[in-house]
Assembly symmetry: C2
Homo-oligomer: 200 residues x 2
């Protein structure tokens, strides 16, 4: 997605070979116009899949998630990482390992919002090692629902998450795939962006 890649090149800050900071438009400050275009792009890429629900995880997934849900005209559900006072129902739960924090955390969704009738699209801001996506897939399986696919704003192509999901036959659509962050340079994996870099 050209608009997104341009924004990444303009505002992304490489903190290390593994960490790209995009907090000016994606996961702390959010650009709502870009977010809406991202949602529209996800809706286009999954338009033939008869999605009934969009599922994401708090907090950074909610922006792109609700915009995808808006353009698909279906509800968004966000999995919680903490317990809610008013979430007293039966919960679908899964354990997710965080490489960053080196600990497990539990994600949960009320079982009344995902059922065996649903065809669920997962949306998240980043795909790195894939642990969060796998946790969300667990919740979908637990509900007996179908997984339509996974939509990612920025995939770290140099980490294993994308390969792990695609090897399972899951449709993964990433709007920008990072090939490398070496030496402070942002390189994209997909051809369309090389063009953007050349034009910079």
């Amino acid at each position: 997605m050209k608009l997104l890649k341009e924004k990444i090149l303009q505002e992304g800050i490489v903190l290390s070979e593994n960490v790209l900071k995009v907090d000016s438009f994606l996961n702390h400050q959010m650009d709502p116009v870009l977010m809406s275009e991202i949602g529209r792009e996800f809706a286009n890429r999954f338009t033939s899949e008869s999605i009934t629900k969009v599922l994401t995880i708090e907090s950074s997934g909610i922006g792109p998630g609700i915009m995808a849900a808006m353009h698909l005209q279906v509800p968004l559900i966000f999995a919680r990482k903490r317990k809610s006072m008013t979430l007293t129902d039966n919960l679908l739960t899964s354990s997710v390992y965080s490489f960053t924090k080196q600990e497990d955390y539990t994600i949960s969704v009320s079982s009344k919002f995902i059922t065996s009738q649903d065809n669920v699209l997962i949306i998240d801001d980043f795909l790195a090692n894939g642990q969060a996506a796998l946790g969300l897939i667990d919740l979908i399986n637990e509900a007996g629902a179908a997984l339509a696919g996974v939509g990612i704003v920025i995939e770290k192509g140099f980490q294993e998450g994308g390969r792990v999901l695609r090897e399972r036959g899951i449709k993964v659509e990433s709007l920008a795939i990072l090939k490398s962050l070496k030496d402070g340079n942002i390189q994209f994996a997909d051809a369309a962006t090389e063009e953007v870099i050349i034009h910079e």
Copy 2:
């Protein structure tokens, strides 16, 4: 806001005299069409205020916040309740007391996203005792920015937050104000809704 109040009457579940569960459309599952209408309504109510930024707090504020930001065509910033690995900048921070959890937690925003040039609209899903809103106002003051007002989806009119903020001269716009949840009945404080109740 009629559409919102109808949704509350249709889907809200009274858990106690103080707790209304609206997780089917506001803070767990979200209805993106309603959320967009809520954002449009906030934009209309603050259209004369020359807003430059919308500020909310993770996680439930992000949905209404980004929709308000979209309709106002300004960025959204969400304050974090936890530390982020990539938030290494100077932070604006404030301590918020949670009556629910009976403990303090720290909220923070990167100082580069709110400056003395900004006129900030706070958006949140609920207003109860006002602690979260006061914490966000602290961040705005710390930045030397101006506060344009506070937009709330559901105000618990029987708790003190709304009075506390309005007594400070702050413009508070709540799209639905609950008068009471006694005996499992949802009663709104503002006249327009009595009409809705009668028509139910």
